[in-house]
Symmetry: C2
Subunit: 153 residues, 2 copies
């Protein structure tokens, strides 16, 4: 009987440890990883390096640009961002407003601002990114955004 109780106690402890380590404990680390990912995104953008932006996404990532179709896979996403850079967007700023994680999945809510030549404001809006822990590293997995500016008439 005592052995049985110990077994149950150990199983409960195991569940608690799994829940704690897998689900709850990682929150501040996840936010730090997300913010570090965003810093790398912005740095790569500012030096015009679409390929380096692509590396921040999972291999099977999807991006959902407004006014266009779904962009699937790291290489296509790298080309997409390169086309944005080559199209005249000179600056990007992102601000993380919230992250929440469970296990290897997290979501982030944030705000972005895009600028053109001479820092001219081009667009601003909000985004949701689903991040995924991929081989120990948090990467952008699903990436969608839209403008907060009024619609063109």
């Amino acid at each position: 009987m005592r052995s049985g109780r110990r077994f149950v106690a150990a199983a409960v402890a195991g569940v608690a440890i799994a829940v704690w380590t897998g689900l709850a404990a990682a929150q501040p680390e996840v936010r730090a990883a997300v913010e570090e990912g965003n810093r790398r995104f912005v740095a790569a953008f500012l030096r015009g390096d679409g390929k380096a932006i692509g590396e921040l996404y999972t291999a099977s990532a999807e991006a959902f640009p407004p006014n266009g179709e779904v962009v699937r896979g790291r290489e296509a996403i790298a080309r997409f961002w390169q086309s944005v850079i080559d199209g005249g967007i000179k600056g990007v700023a992102v601000t993380t407003l919230e992250t929440e994680a469970q296990g290897d999945l997290a979501y982030e809510v944030g705000r972005y601002a895009l600028t053109g030549e001479g820092g001219k404001p081009v667009d601003q809006g909000k985004y949701v990114v689903v991040w995924k822990r991929d081989d120990g590293q948090w990467k952008l997995h699903r990436d969608i955004w839209n403008t907060s500016l009024p619609a063109a008439k």
Copy 2:
């Protein structure tokens, strides 16, 4: 020693059970819950019931409409959808393309189409919804979408 080994074995089993039940096992159930939530969303939309749409969101939900600011909280989201309905959107269709869940968090990727009077196409695009299990029920927690149509010039 034997007791110690049993303790470790039980703890490992506990972790495995927690991971299995909390993270992996629920995938088909989560997709079914998401699709049921979407059916209710569409049904409420078609009968013009913004309040019932609001009930499908968590109390602290956020919606991110294009060309507008963040809409925070169930009541504000209910009013937002009521304004969309009252503004002349008569039909909505949503198609779930993907869901993935861990613990009480899931994300969904899908496509939407909006129609006006007489079934006239008004908009179509894609969305990402972060769903959250709230008191045992999966609800929309973060909801963002954008159009796939070309930008107005």
